[in-house]
Symmetry: C2
Subunit: 448 residues, 2 copies
């Protein structure tokens, strides 16, 4: 299919998803307990992603079409060279538990891979099997046969990653599961790219001035963010560095609220185990069991953060580790933080100059730097980046959200002295697709 046909296909999927909302949202709620309000919004985001990629195809610069005409004056003479990004081939997508629409069977990995021109085989998440099957039916109802398929079960997933015809993998899930599949993909006789989004603690630094100026605003924002969706967001703030002696931990503890049914009993049990491992650090909330989770706050110091590897592991659910820092040991605290999807700073304007080394260290460790805000909620746009250094992802150069997510499923092919009938339409001299192209070094046909 050319990009125009693929764009129509993506819009048809978007419409089919929106049209099935009345059926899909209750099905998702029954299997995930995420609530109808949140799920209506998430389905809109999922269909919106298909529409964004239709825009990306229409705009066309994602193809990186480049033409260097022959130059007989160079030594040696340069031939005519034309390159464009082409689909890598069939892609395997591992759907996530926590976003049954936006990172599920019809999530951003599926939308971006179909947009790139790659057939997709999704491995459904066992947390919402009925919804997954229904979503696959909706997709099948509008796509040609052979473009999309869904499989279920761990064995099928492993078989996908090692199948000779699969050329790349998208994954959203745990560090343990992601690492095992990454190792399979990298260990193949012919290694393939594995674009995995794994675990992230999304650190927050609150300056002394910010803690003094707006303690209640920060506490309210943090509690809302780390308990959103029962703490089951990839971007949940899991470690918050607060000034020792500021008393901010008490303000936060006093405002603790939220909680509810977790996605699956197994995920709830994982949360309870994470809380138990840090039981001696609890300052608000309690050890729990069963399918529900209440928010829990831990408190520690920088020595704990720097010395105990489990201190920087993600606890999936409504738990947050506060870390008291002094002005002297803030750099050491930041240096102990692992790679994350996001890093957040709460600061006052007068803090900025002195904070520069901390900001530089956070930039090295995160894919998105949030200022005086909260990391949960990931807008789908051109500038968005949802990625980050290990263990946040297995490929920090790529994003799984936003327009650039399509780049994961493309590879360049260069055509040397090829006649027009052999060239893809994207590279023909008369530019029949009207694409923005770099010709002899300068851009042409770009919407400026």
């Amino acid at each position: 299919m050319d990009p125009v046909e693929r764009g129509r296909m993506l819009l048809a999927v978007a419409d089919a998803l929106d049209n099935a909302r009345g059926e899909l949202v209750p099905l998702a709620d029954a299997e995930t307990s995420l609530g109808e309000g949140r799920l209506v919004g998430e389905l809109a985001r999922a269909s919106g992603q298909f529409r964004l990629f239709a825009d990306v195809l229409r705009e066309g610069s994602y193809l990186r079409a480049t033409i260097d005409h022959a130059d007989p004056t160079t030594t040696p003479p340069r031939p005519d060279l034309r390159s464009v990004l082409e689909p890598v081939g069939p892609v395997a997508v591992f759907a996530a538990s926590n976003f049954p629409f936006a990172f599920g069977v019809v999530g951003g990995d599926t939308a971006s891979a179909l947009a790139a021109g790659c057939p997709v085989v999704v491995k459904a998440h066992p947390g919402h099997p009925e919804l997954s099957r229904r979503l696959a039916e909706v997709v099948h109802s509008v796509l040609e046969p052979g473009v999309f398929a869904m499989v279920e079960g761990l064995d099928a997933g492993r078989a996908l990653v090692t199948h000779p015809d699969i050329r790349a993998v998208g994954f959203t899930g745990s560090v343990t599961g992601g690492r095992a599949l990454f190792d399979l993909a990298s260990g193949r006789p012919d290694p393939i790219p594995f674009h995995g989004e794994l675990g992230s603690v999304n650190p927050v630094v609150v300056t002394r001035a910010a803690a003094a100026a707006r303690p209640r605003e920060i506490a309210d924002g943090l509690v809302a963010s780390f308990t959103l969706g029962v703490g089951q967001f990839c971007t949940k703030p899991g470690i918050v560095l607060i000034p020792a002696g500021s008393g901010l931990e008490t303000v936060i503890a006093d405002r603790l609220a939220g909680g509810g049914r977790m996605l699956t009993p197994a995920i709830a049990e994982g949360f309870h185990q994470g809380v138990r491992r840090r039981a001696d650090r609890i300052i608000a909330g309690r050890q729990q069991d069963g399918p529900d989770a209440e928010p829990v706050l831990f408190l520690a110091d920088v020595d704990f953060l720097a010395a105990r590897p489990e201190a920087t592991e993600e606890v999936f659910g409504p738990a947050c580790l506060l870390v008291h820092y002094t002005d002297d040991d803030l750099p050491r605290a930041v240096a102990a933080l692992p790679g994350s999807l996001t890093a957040t700073v709460h600061a006052e304007p007068a803090d900025i100059a002195a904070l520069a080394p901390v900001v530089a260290a956070l930039r090295e460790r995160a894919g998105r730097l949030v200022w005086n805000g909260w990391p949960t909620g990931v807008a789908v746009s051109w500038a968005q980046h949802h990625g980050g250094p290990w263990p946040a992802t297995t490929s920090a150069a790529h994003t799984s959200v936003g327009a650039h997510a399509i780049a994961r499923w493309l590879r360049p092919v260069c055509y040397q002295d090829c006649p027009p009938a052999v060239l893809p339409r994207a590279l023909r001299e008369d530019n029949p697709l009207g694409l923005p192209r770099r010709v002899d070094g300068a851009w042409t046909d770009l919407e400026c």
Copy 2:
């Protein structure tokens, strides 16, 4: 350093290399036997690569600077999001044997990583130690301390790939060596990207009409290409599919010429072993030993190509496998070809329509499609792509030659609602670097 300063640094390295030509070229020739003429050209290419990346920095779109202003009308309201590509951190570069300048200590990997803003540690190739040390001195003479270093020896190389501070690897060399280092990089507690260019057989398909129309031109071109530099090019055509009954093999055999001293005794011994393994297929040339190599032609049929895995392994040196195909088994022959840097077609205009499935299969297997030409000689330009599916490279989405080689050493960072004093200059509202940027979906400040 900002891009302007880095551009100046790259130009200073280029000038220093050119100024040292009188000393560097004889040193390279003494250690590689590649000949002064070729080495003068290669050094010019190496310094030219530094100048190309200075152009890339000046043009600025490689940074992918993107701004989406806040939009309070969306649900939820969208914050201000700005993203730009930033250097990944220190890069390890493994220099190649066969291009002591252009893929060596000062090769494209080093130039592109320095251009990206990454410090570089090169592991020198043992085939030209004195040249490598002198090149490192030349680079040191113009760069600030801490930006560049060189190490020698296999142990040092392994230590580099597993060092916690190294964030990415560039490699040019053998499948065996590259695979071992790729496995080390992928097996780290924190896996890092390994951009390796390994082995490539660079298949050629000659149609029956082309073989009939211009047998001597094709034979001359092939012999010149596969014996260039004593057959020690990554893009050497190693497998040529020719029509059975065309007699083209005799025309080629009659024109066999070339050969000479190989890069190192070990490389020569590897070539002789490769020839011995296919001794029963020799139709011109002979089994050899010692430091020199003469050209050798093998002939086989499609059954041999499809059934014997060693048939599709690269023989590094002046050897070429001709494969007789019939019209019936050409698709099977093409399907048996491994991933390659290049694929070449020699055809007449009337062939093009019927050849479409063959061309499609070659595109899937190669990074560059050459029409009625030869793959050796890789122009350094915007449209060039020097990469390809495994085993040609470990990351088919990337090129090691041309402007886009810089992309291997960059990762996005997104800034959400950050004040101007926190933003990198590339993302400030007034665009102080004059960069092309995508703002609210449309390009601005682009040279069109």
